[in-house]
Symmetry: none
Subunit: 182 residues, 4 copies
DNA sequence: TATGAATGAGTGTTCATTCAT
DNA sequence: GATGAATGAACACTCATTCAT
């Protein structure tokens, strides 16, 4: 039965990411249960609160991205940097809507903050290696990089955006972060 | 009593901008009424639907920004450009959450779309003059500029952001949009 | 100004008969004001309560019918009887929906009861003359006659009824009320 | 819990018949919940709309009457006829107010129309057998019979009616429908 | 006196959460 | 442990009634 429970938990989280990613906090817990193919009671047994459910889904998303960042360690620093930024914006798009939900309801929960920090650390690494390689301007900090990434992710998620517009916007950000020549 | 009614309308819109700007669609119409200091019935007399209320608040916000853009026509093109981008991000921060609200509920209403277009035209003007003055790269289009502005506005609105982090992020965007030297 | 006030009163009552006749209690006082071409405040100045407005409209309707009954005094008794029954059912159709409204809200008000009694007296007269002429069975009382009339009026008002079905139903009632032959 | 749910459904329908029968559409869903002894949410889980609730209650009422009509098949045709007419008027009294409710809101829903047709068919049977036995005039059709029944039911429901007045009115209708002698 | 803006209690409906099965 | 029915607080919206103009 442990097995079933763990499987259910995973299915619920996947459903939650879909539902809340698409509709933000407006997504209903029952819709999550339906997509996960479990009863509503099961969802609440695993996550006693809608907030905790969102938090867990967010955490999972952060951890995925963290893994991705680590995997890029082997690549060429400049390429890794561009790949990561692009990936975070494009893949994180819908799901980042989750963040505002939690912010609304009284602060970032500890566990999610921790996951966020782990991700930030991983991004920091890729950033630093980019700076060391002279591909990113030395004065840049993770904080504004993060903000820019979140910004484009959320903006493109909340309004229909032609892919090439998003691409050009990403290019602007990458250019703005590159070492000024001359 | 026309006088009172107009005053109330204005107070309701101001309250709506606060409430929906801060909480998105989740903000309740009753909270708007409370902040405006009027009865719930009064809100609905002026705006027969929550959606129409949000739409009107959005329109007002767009028009404010459009006015601001036009007022910058007298300034030095490069300075005007930087001032406008910064103003749209900072002032529009909370309120831009409104856009996603309406997008969710089935498309941009006509009047708001029109106001949005007027604003976009005004921004276009400032942008073009910046390009003519050599302060902004020639290849930039309003579309990605808009996306970047919306992104930073929304991102900084949905999560506590230290002012200097936002400032540095804006600098990155402005740098990315400036004519590459060398 | 007295003149205007009286005119307004009359227009409001006519509008009320239309509105409540068509929608029952569900009709809104504002709709009445709109159709009467006056402000909502004016309606409430004349009739301080929705209930009193309905009551007055009902009373007016009763008085119209009473007048009609009196006018029939000159006719042949049997014909007068048939004409009155038919007229009350057909003309009173929609408007009799009003009665249930008042019944709901705690009893028939005095003034309406008085008007109803005046009407009942007039009907009684026509009925008695019909009985004296041998056209109506002697055992019939106004009470059941009234009930039958109200029944057909309400029933045909609350559901689309082909005219000939209503005609045949009226014939049944008249036959049931006629002196049994043999 | 299927058991409980079915019990609740039944209690809700019974309460709905009472409430809407007595007050028409004006009856509130919350009152229904209160009388059924369940929470308001439970009512809406079973009937997602006030309209659907009314429809279901109406359908139940029709089906009860249909059953009753069928049960009379064994009786003497003339007696069966009188019993049915009387039963439909007396028992259906309050509840028939429901019909006008639905008629108001844009037409008779399909399921209720079907139930109504089943009932009409059953009444038709009893009527025909009465006609075959010479107890009911041959020219009578279900249509006007229905109208007369609905009329007395509604009229006696919407205004306090002494039982003997109603009885005499029913006698008038039955007399009017009987084969004219002589 | 007429007007119509303001009010707020009341209604239909949704949804997070609890709990009997 | 899983289920889904039950709950009730919260919300959008309506409408009779009041009152400032």
């Amino acid at each position: 039965m442990r097995q079933d429970a763990r499987e259910n938990r995973e299915r619920i989280l996947a459903a939650a990411e879909e539902v809340f990613g698409a509709h933000g906090a407006a997504g209903s817990t029952e819709e999550v249960a339906r997509r996960a193919g479990v009863g509503i009671g099961t969802v609440f047994r695993h996550f006693p609160t809608k907030e905790e459910l969102i938090e867990a889904a967010l955490l999972r998303h952060f951890d995925h991205l963290t893994g991705r960042a680590h995997a890029l360690a082997a690549d060429d620093p400049a390429a890794a940097w561009r790949t990561l930024v692009r990936a975070m914006i494009v893949s994180g798009a819908t799901k980042l809507a989750l963040i505002s939900v939690l912010t609304d309801r009284g602060g970032f929960p500890d566990s999610a903050a921790a996951a966020s920090n782990r991700l930030k650390a991983a991004v920091s690494d890729v950033l630093r290696r980019g700076q060391d390689a002279g591909a990113v301007r030395a004065s840049a900090t993770v904080e504004e990089v993060y903000l820019l990434i979140r910004g484009l992710a959320q903006a493109s998620a909340t309004m229909p955006t032609p892919p090439d517009t998003l691409d050009r916007a990403i290019d602007v950000v990458l250019a703005g972060l590159s070492e000024p020549t001359g």
